[in-house]
């Protein structure tokens, strides 16, 4: 009898184990992190993100994370499909300001999560906190900032006999005109003539002095100091300001740089540079390349030349306006496990992880306490780079930001992009005419928007 009970007990324990084991395993909530809208898809970054997931998963019993890496070109469509198809990821990121603007209605406000546990945000840079806050929503804890600077190829400077640009932010001789003069000397045709030479053949160029190819239309015009800086509308978003004096000046400067002074590659030449298979500056065909710190995570892999960084020059008004990008992770409103997503967001931006995460994505940590650790780690990776240039750029950020939300953000961005495209292809090189047309188009978009949102 006892033996029979023993067998029955064993059987019951086995059955319970069989039934309960999967249930116990399922207790670990999976937080899928959607990566692809910004940085994070480069082959070098993928194993690092997997290692980060491994680190999290081995130290957490109730939550596991998984990075869903989606190619950048299809990421927007894919996320939209996931959001509409009820299969939203729990976290999305790293997101730039543009991504937040593009999916503005989709994000969960994290203010209640912060308030519920009185979460301390005092360690974050005030700037980075502000970049995530909108009148109706706080989109996420800041992860990092991507200040901008000019990468320069020392070998090309040396070969052209041109002095390196200054690293001193106070040096007012470093202007856009100065940049142009140096860049022209480094822009070469296949016979080795530079862009100042009467024998120079602009149809047969093999090297360019300067490029800002990895931005969009708004980004390329921000540095010229318009009253609305990087935003093509007034502060109330009701009037288009794309044909401001400063933007017209800036677009004409870029147009002349391509078609008259020949130190900036046109669209066709940019495509050829990219056809080398390397990131633009890594191609070794550019003397200077204006970019952000995310380039440190994506490019500069064993480049066969010496390089360093310089501040963005002063513009025609004597101002320095250096674009900035800021990244965070956001929780979709319709995510199933928002509380768990909040826990992961906190972990990713915690002082213990933020340097590691930022080294993957190339951002400057948004926590002040992490600055020195990050600086040391970055210096180890790039021992010859002038770190002061990178960090000081934060003080010259563009506000309103060139990626900031405006009504009908995508349409307005495309309208400015069309202006840039006309210049870049040579379809129309008259900046005033182009931006007048752009302004009319944006005004029409704004009028339509306010007509349907007036109530």
């Amino acid at each position: 009898m006892t033996r029979r009970f023993g067998w029955i007990a064993v059987l019951i324990v086995c059955l319970i184990s069989l039934v309960a084991a999967p249930a116990l395993a399922q207790e670990k909530v999976k937080v899928t992190i959607f990566v692809g809208l910004g940085t994070g898809t480069d082959p070098d970054q993928i194993p690092k993100q997997e290692a980060l997931a491994e680190k999290f998963n081995s130290t957490h019993d109730t939550i596991e994370i998984e990075f869903l890496i989606v190619p950048n070109t299809e990421s927007r469509t894919r996320l939209q499909a996931m959001l509409t198809g009820d299969s939203a990821p729990q976290l999305v990121g790293p997101n730039g300001i543009s991504t937040i603007a593009a999916f503005f209605e989709s994000w969960e406000d994290i203010t209640p999560y912060i308030e519920a546990e009185n979460f301390d945000t005092s360690d974050f840079y005030e700037t980075s906190l502000e970049l995530n806050k909108y009148p109706t929503i706080n989109t996420g804890l800041p992860l990092g900032l991507f200040p901008s600077f000019v990468l320069y190829n020392k070998d090309i400077f040396d070969a052209a006999g041109v002095d390196y640009p200054t690293s001193d932010y106070a040096d007012t001789s470093w202007t856009l005109d100065d940049l142009k003069a140096r860049a022209m000397l480094m822009s070469l045709d296949s016979a080795g003539n530079d862009a100042t030479s009467p024998d120079f053949d602009a149809e047969d160029m093999v090297q360019w002095g300067y490029s800002d190819a990895w931005t969009d239309g708004r980004g390329s015009l921000t540095m010229f100091g318009a009253p609305d800086v990087g935003r093509p509308t007034t502060a109330d978003y009701k009037t288009a300001t794309a044909n401001s004096e400063e933007w017209v000046y800036g677009l004409q400067w870029l147009s002349d740089g391509i078609w008259k002074d020949h130190f900036i590659p046109n669209n066709e030449q940019s495509a050829s540079i990219e056809a080398t298979g390397a990131a633009p500056f890594d191609s070794g065909l550019l003397g200077m390349f204006y970019t952000h710190t995310w380039y440190l995570g994506e490019g500069l892999n064993d480049v066969p030349f010496e390089w360093d960084v310089a501040p963005l020059p002063f513009n025609q008004k004597g101002q320095r306006i250096a674009r900035i990008h800021a990244d965070n992770f956001t929780i979709p409103k319709i995510a199933q496990h928002k509380q768990e997503a909040w826990e992961v967001m906190k972990w990713l931006t915690a002082p213990e992880q933020i340097v590691e995460v930022c080294l993957i994505y190339g951002c400057v940590p948004a926590r002040e306490s992490a600055a020195e650790t990050f600086r040391a780690a970055l210096q180890e990776k790039f021992p010859d780079m002038n770190m002061d240039v990178v960090f000081e750029a934060i003080n010259y950020l563009d506000s309103p930001n060139h990626e900031s939300w405006v009504p009908e953000w995508g349409r307005v961005g495309d309208a400015v992009g069309f202006a840039w495209s006309q210049i870049g292809t040579g379809e129309n090189t008259d900046a005033k005419a182009v931006l007048d047309q752009t302004n009319t188009e944006i005004q029409q978009i704004l009028d339509e928007y306010w007509a349907s949102h007036s109530s």
């Binding site: 939209q80 800002d212 980004g219 495509a271 990219e274 056809a275 995508g410 069309f418 292809t425 188009e441």
Partner: protein, 315 residues
Amino acid sequence: MRFFNMRDWTLARREAAAGYMYVAPWVVGFLLLTVGPMLASLYFSFTDYDIVSSPRWIGIQNYTQLFQDPLFWKSLQVTLYFAILSLPSSLVTGFFLAVLLNQNVRGIRIWRTIYFLPSVLSGVAVTLVWITMFNPQVGVVNQILEILGFKGPSWLSDPDWALPALAIMALWGVGQNMIIYLAGLQSVPQDMYDAAKVDGANAWQSFRSITIPMMSPVLFYNLVLGLIGTFSYFTQVYIASSSVSGASRELGGPARSTLFYNLYLFQNAFRYGRMGYASAMAWILFIIVLILTALIFKSSSMWVYYEGELRSKSE
């Protein structure tokens, strides 16, 4: 209950029931996956719908706004221009290749396979290869032109040449047309050619008076499919304009020169979050294609020759 007693059914009724059962999977699929979404999009076309919020009924506002939208007209213009460039060239090239590959020469099956093979390759992969081939400075197309003494254009980077480049790219899939023509050519009775030869017709006269009329139903079929294909052109131009990085990246670029109707529809739906507007565009497209197809059908009585019809009329 009696209704379900199949033993009482007539043979015709049983056959009909079996027929309906066989087609049921397709009909159910068609109703759920095609008619359902079509009706949903018809409803959305009368709403302000951004995917995230609930649709809001706005009547015909999307349609009236469409006709005032310069980009709507631009996208129609681009699509029609592409149709004019691409449709005749793919029809003629396919027909020409089919005639060539209908000859009784050694290794003809290998040649047919070679010419058909490209059309089965993936659109995305092929487009990426073509983008590289069309690169103005390092692409093979311009290198060949240079050897021949011509300076090649900037192709996909040039607003004037981007559409012709896409039309050339579209010829890659001409093998599909070719194989249909080839099947048609092989069904033309040899005795017609023999009779023409007896009557003293030369090769050109036989081709003009026998081959072309006998192939006109196939030409008609390819024309209708080609027209629909042209208006639904999307993948290649999407890949071509989104594979560019940075400031040069512009869907429908350069300078909106490849802003196809479907691409603009896609932008509205998935980039701008204007699903209602995009649905209205889809219905306008449906109507345009319907009208053009109806016109082709209407005109077919003037140029399409059906041997069976002629026989039945003469009888």
